[in-house]
C-alpha cells in the first residue's frame, strides 16, 4: 500500500520520526544481534567471520558459567524484588500515616533511586569494605565479624545494595497507588468494625493489586540488567559467585571478544525475560482486569 | 445565512450503526434542538456536522454547499462543548480571540472584537484571568463568547448546560435564547433534557437508535406525538399506556373498558392507547359515549409543588398516573376507590410493537 505524504493520515505522520529512529537504533541492531548470534564473530579476528548456525547457542547453553550467571541473576532478582516489595509497601503505609513532615520524609526516602548506580556501588564498596569500611568496623566493635564481599555473603550484599537504591521506586509506586484508592471502602470497613489487619488484607491489598503487579514487573525487568554493582565491587567474584548475566555478556563480548557467543547469550536472556513477563501477566491478569 | 441539510446521513463504528440514514432540513436562523435518550446518536450527529467525525455515507450541505469532506475549520461553524473545552493555558481574552487568530485577523481587530464580545457577555473584568479560576457559569460564557466572536453560519451546542446547577441553567438558557434572537444565526442544540428542549426550540428533532422519530415544534411534539417512542419520552410524568384491540367499527377494547374512536389507527389490530396524566379527570357523572369511565383504587399520592401525582390501579391490574392540582388533593385518598374518565379526543393510538 503506497501513499504519498499528503494523503497519509496525520497519525502516521506523527509517529514517523519515532518509527524511523527506533528502526535505526533498536530494530536494526536487534536483527544484527540475531545474525551475530549465528556467526563465529571474534573481535580479535574481525575479518574472519564464519557462519556457525546454532553452535553458539549450544556452547552457551552448556557453558557452566552461563548457567551459573543465570542462576545468580535469578536469585538476585527474586531476592531483591521481594525485599523491595515488602519494604516499599511497609514504608508507603507508614508514610501515609505521617501527620507532619510527610512531603519532606518522602523526598528523602525517594532520593536513592535517582543517583547513578555506579556511585551507589562504589559508596557501598567502601562502606562495607572489611578493612576500611565503617560498617564492618563498628560491627566488629559489637562483636560481629562479617566479610560482606566474601564467598558466602557477596551476592546477598549486592541484593542489599539494590534494595537500598530501588526500594524507593516501589515506595513511589505504592504511595501513588494508595493515594488513588477510593475512600469509601475504608469508611465502610470502619463502620463495619474491621480491624487494621483485616482492612489491610481484605481491602488495601486487593485494591492495590494492579499497582503491585506493574511495580513488580518493572522492577524485576530492571533488576535483570544489574551490572554496575558487580562491576564496581566484586567483578563477579569471589570465584564467580556474583557473576550476573549482564556481567557475563560483558565479559564474553568485551573481555574475551567472543561477540557471537555474547549475542547468543543476550538472545537467550531476552527469551527468558519474555517467558517471565508472559507468566507474570497471565498469573495476575484475571484479577487485574475486572 | 446558515441552512443545513442532511441527506441520508449515516455513521457506523465497525458493525454498529450510530446514525442510520437521517434526512433533515434545518432552516436559516432556526433554533433547532436535537433531543433523545443518551446513546441515541444526537451528539454524533452534531459532531458529524462539525466535521469532528467522518461521515460513513450520505451528505451534509451548508447553504447548499457540500461540506461532507471538509475539515472542521473549513465549515464556518462554532461549537460549545459540554465541558466548555476552554484552553487552560490561555487567558479568557486569548481563548475568545483564538479562532480569529487562526484566520490571521490583525491583533488590533481581534482585541476590539474580543472586547465587544466580553462586554456583551459581561466578561470584561475577567479578560486576563485563566479559565480554571472562573466559575462554571463564567466558563460557559467564555465558551459562548468564543463561539459567537467569529460570526459563524451555524452554532452547535453539545449539552452545554448539563454541568451547571439548576438556577444557573435557567439563567444561561435565557441568555442563549436572547443571543439567538439578537444574532439570528442558525443554532443546533443537543440536549437530553426535554424541558430545556421545549423551552428553547423553534423545532425539536427527537432521535432514538440513530433514527429521527419526529421533527416538529414543541407543541406538535407534545400534543401530536407521531410514534410510541416520542409519546413515551416526552412529558413528565410520562404518558399512560394501555394495551387494547381495535375492532372493525373503530372500537377499542381494553382491560379497563371499551371506547369508540374517530380516527382509525393506520395499521394493525393490536394497539397501545396513550393518555397524558393531566387528561385523566376525576369524574362522578354518568358516562358519555366519547369517554371511558374507570373505577380505580388510589395507590399513592405525591405532592410536587403546585401539582400532585396520583397513582391509581384498575382491578385488571392496569396502572394509571394522573396529575392534579394540589388543592384537589383531598379528593384522592390512598386506599379509596374513585372513578375517573378518559376522553376519546385525549387518546393517542399507536400500533403495538410485539417483542
Amino acid at each position: 500500500m503506497l501513499m504519498n505524504a499528503a494523503q497519509m493520515h496525520i497519525k502516521y505522520k506523527l509517529i514517523l520520526p519515532l518509527v524511523f529512529l527506533l528502526f535505526g537504533i533498536m530494530l536494526y541492531p536487534l536483527f544484527f544481534s540475531l545474525w551475530l548470534s549465528l556467526q563465529d564473530y571474534r573481535l580479535t579476528r574481525i575479518n574472519d567471520v564464519q557462519f556457525v548456525g546454532l553452535e553458539n547457542f549450544g556452547l552457551i547453553a552448556t557453558d557452566p558459567s552461563f548457567l551459573n550467571a543465570m542462576g545468580n541473576t535469578i536469585s538476585f532478582v527474586v531476592g531483591a524484588v521481594i525485599l523491595e516489595l515488602i519494604l516499599g509497601l511497609s514504608l508507603a503505609l507508614l508514610i501515609q500515616k505521617l501527620v507532619i513532615f510527610r512531603g519532606a520524609i518522602r523526598s528523602i526516602l525517594l532520593a536513592p533511586m535517582f543517583i547513578t548506580p555506579i556511585a551507589v556501588g562504589l559508596m557501598f564498596r567502601f562502606l562495607l569494605n572489611s578493612e576500611i569500611g565503617i560498617i564492618p568496623f563498628y560491627l566488629l566493635k559489637v562483636g560481629i565479624s562479617l566479610d560482606w564481599f566474601g564467598p558466602g555473603l557477596a551476592l546477598f550484599s549486592i541484593v542489599l545494595i539494590d534494595v537500598w537504591q530501588w526500594t524507593p521506586f516501589m515506595l513511589l509506586m505504592f504511595l501513588a497507588g494508595l493515594e488513588a484508592l477510593p475512600k469509601t471502602p475504608f469508611e465502610a470497613a470502619r463502620v463495619d468494625g474491621a480491624g487494621r489487619w483485616l482492612t489491610f488484607s481484605s481491602i488495601t491489598l486487593p485494591l492495590l493489586r494492579p499497582v503491585i503487579v506493574v511495580a513488580l514487573i518493572i522492577r524485576a525487568l530492571d533488576a535483570f540488567k544489574v551490572f554496575e554493582y558487580v562491576f564496581a565491587i566484586t567483578r563477579g567474584g569471589p570465584g564467580n559467585s556474583t557473576e550476573t548475566i549482564m556481567y557475563y555478556i560483558y565479559q564474553t563480548g568485551f573481555r574475551f571478544f567472543r561477540m557471537g557467543e555474547a549475542a547468543a547469550a543476550s538472545i537467550l536472556l531476552i527469551i527468558f525475560i519474555l517467558i517471565f513477563v508472559i507468566l507474570i501477566v497471565n498469573l495476575s491478569r484475571p484479577k487485574v482486569i475486572k | 445565512m446558515g441552512q443545513v441539510t442532511f441527506k441520508n446521513l449515516s455513521k457506523s463504528f465497525g458493525p454498529a450503526n450510530i446514525i442510520d440514514g437521517i434526512n433533515l432540513e434545518i432552516r436559516n436562523s432556526e433554533f433547532l434542538v436535537l433531543l433523545g435518550p443518551s446513546g441515541c446518536g444526537k451528539s454524533t450527529t452534531l459532531r458529524l456536522l462539525a466535521g469532528l467525525e467522518t461521515v460513513s455515507s450520505g451528505k451534509i450541505l451548508i447553504d447548499g454547499k457540500d461540506v461532507t469532506e471538509l475539515e472542521p475549520r473549513e465549515r464556518d461553524i462554532a461549537m460549545v462543548f459540554q465541558n466548555y473545552a476552554l484552553y487552560p493555558t490561555m487567558t479568557v481574552a486569548q481563548n475568545i480571540g483564538f479562532g480569529l487568530k487562526a484566520k490571521k485577523t490583525p491583533p488590533k481587530l481581534i482585541k476590539e472584537k474580543v472586547n465587544d464580545i466580553a462586554e456583551l457577555l459581561g466578561l470584561t473584568h475577567l479578560l486576563n484571568r485563566k479559565p480554571n479560576s472562573l466559575s462554571g457559569g463564567q466558563q460557559q460564557r467564555v465558551a459562548i463568547g468564543r463561539a459567537i466572536v467569529r460570526k459563524p453560519k451555524v452554532f452547535l451546542f453539545d449539552e452545554p448546560l448539563s454541568n451547571l446547577d439548576a438556577n444557573l441553567r435557567l439563567e444561561m438558557r435565557a441568555e442563549i435564547m436572547k443571543l439567538h434572537r439578537e444574532l439570528g444565526a442558525t443554532t443546533i442544540f443537543v440536549t437530553h433534557d426535554q424541558e430545556e428542549a421545549m423551552a428553547m426550540a423553534d423545532r425539536i428533532v427527537i432521535m432514538d437508535n440513530g433514527l429521527i422519530e419526529q421533527v416538529g415544534t414543541p407543541t406538535e411534539i407534545y400534543f401530536q406525538p407521531k410514534t410510541r417512542m416520542v409519546a413515551g419520552f416526552i412529558g413528565n410524568p410520562s404518558m399512560n399506556f394501555i394495551e387494547g384491540q381495535i375492532s372493525k367499527n373503530c372500537e377499542i377494547s381494553m382491560a379497563i373498558g371499551r371506547i369508540k374512536v374517530n380516527i382509525p389507527p393506520n395499521s394493525g389490530k393490536d394497539v397501545e392507547v396513550g393518555i397524558r396524566p393531566e387528561k385523566i379527570k376525576l369524574d362522578e357523572r354518568k358516562s358519555k359515549p366519547t369517554e371511558i369511565k374507570v373505577k380505580v383504587l388510589v395507590t399513592n399520592v405525591e405532592l410536587l409543588g403546585p401539582r400532585a401525582v396520583v397513582k391509581m390501579q384498575h382491578e385488571s391490574g392496569q396502572q394509571l398516573t394522573s396529575v392534579v392540582d394540589h388543592n384537589e388533593m383531598d379528593k384522592y385518598r390512598v386506599g379509596t376507590k374513585i372513578s375517573v374518565s378518559l376522553a376519546s379526543q385525549a387518546l393517542h393510538i399507536f400500533p403495538r410493537i410485539r417483542d
Partner: protein, 274 residues
C-alpha cells in the same frame, strides 16, 4: 505526634521505623560528604570523625583532573539525547494517546523500554566501530537514545491521555489544522509533562554506565565512567572519588526533586491502567 496510629506502641514502632529508614538512606550521603572533606592522609579511616575539613580533594578534582571534561561530556550527551527524544517522542506519544489502532504500539514502546542493554550493546559497538564513532559523543548519544526515547515516549503518553479530547476538537473548529491543534493547544498544556519527561530522560542518560563504559574513550568519557575509574583499593583516592560522586549526584537530586510529583504518572501512570 508524628504518625497517626491508634495505640501508643504502634505509634512508637512506626516512628522508629521511619527514623531508621531515614538514617539508612542519608548515612551514605553523609559519609561520602565527610570523605570528600577529609585530608587525603585520613582518607578511608573508619575511626576518624573529627578532623580539620579541607577543600584539597575538591580543588584537585576541579582544577587538576579530567572530571570537568567528563561533566561537560555527560551534560552535552544527556542534553542532546533528551532533545532528540522529545522531538521524536512527543508527536508519537500524542498519536498513541489519541488515535485508534495504536494499542499494540503502546506496548511495543514498553517492550523497547524493557529491552536489556546486553542485546543492543554488541551490534551498537560493532556498528559504531565500523563508522569510527567509538570514543565519540555521537556514539554515546545513539546508545542512550535506545533507552531514553522509549522512556520519554511512554512517560508522555500518560500526560497526553489526561488532556480532554474536546480541546483539539475545539481548536479544529476554531480554524486550526489537526497538527496546529497539537502544537498550539495540546503541547502548551502538557508543558509540565514535557519538562518532567525531559528531566527524567536527562537523569537516565547522565546516570548510565554500561553503554558509556564500552563506547567512550579519553575524549568522550562521561562522569559515571570517570567515577568507575577511581576503582581502587588505595584509600588515598577515596577523597577524590567522593568529590566526583557528589558532583554526579547533587545536580540529579535537585533535578529529580523538582519533578517528583510528575514521576508517578510518567513511570507507572499509563502502566497502572492496564
Amino acid at each position: 505526634m508524628i504518625i497517626s496510629f491508634e495505640n501508643q506502641l504502634s505509634r512508637f514502632l512506626g516512628t522508629i521505623a521511619i527514623f531508621t529508614a531515614i538514617i539508612v538512606v542519608l548515612f551514605p550521603f553523609f559519609w561520602i560528604f565527610l570523605e570528600s572533606l577529609k585530608p587525603p592522609s585520613l582518607g578511608g579511616r573508619p575511626d576518624v570523625w573529627f578532623f580539620e575539613p579541607t577543600w584539597e580533594n575538591w580543588s584537585e578534582i576541579v582544577l587538576n583532573s579530567g572530571v570537568p571534561l567528563n561533566i561537560l561530556n555527560s551534560f552535552f550527551i544527556a542534553l542532546i539525547t533528551v532533545v532528540i527524544s522529545l522531538i521524536c517522542g512527543a508527536p508519537a506519544a500524542y498519536a498513541f494517546s489519541r488515535f485508534r489502532g495504536f494499542h499494540g504500539a503502546r506496548y511495543s514502546i514498553l517492550a523497547a523500554e524493557m529491552m536489556p542493554p546486553a542485546i543492543l550493546i554488541l551490534p551498537l559497538f560493532l556498528l559504531l566501530y565500523k563508522l569510527e564513532l567509538i570514543d565519540s559523543r555521537i556514539g554515546v548519544i545513539i546508545a542512550h537514545l535506545t533507552f531514553v526515547v522509549p522512556v520519554i515516549t511512554w512517560f508522555l503518553i500518560g500526560f497526553f491521555d489526561e488532556v480532554p479530547k474536546d480541546l483539539e476538537d475545539q481548536a479544529m473548529i476554531d480554524g486550526y489544522t489537526r497538527f496546529q491543534a497539537f502544537y498550539k493547544v495540546i503541547l502548551p498544556i502538557v508543558r509540565p509533562g514535557l519538562g518532567a519527561a525531559a528531566v527524567f530522560g536527562f537523569v537516565l542518560s547522565w546516570n548510565d554506565l554500561f553503554y558509556s563504559l564500552l563506547l567512550t574513550g579519553a575524549e568522550s568519557r562521561t562522569l559515571p565512567v570517570a567515577i568507575a575509574s577511581f576503582w581502587t583499593f588505595r584509600g588515598i583516592e577515596l577523597g577524590k572519588m567522593a568529590v566526583a560522586i557528589l558532583i554526579a549526584v547533587i545536580p540529579v537530586l535537585i533535578l529529580s526533586y523538582s519533578i517528583q510529583k510528575h514521576l508517578i504518572r510518567g513511570i507507572g501512570g499509563s502502566g497502572v491502567k492496564y
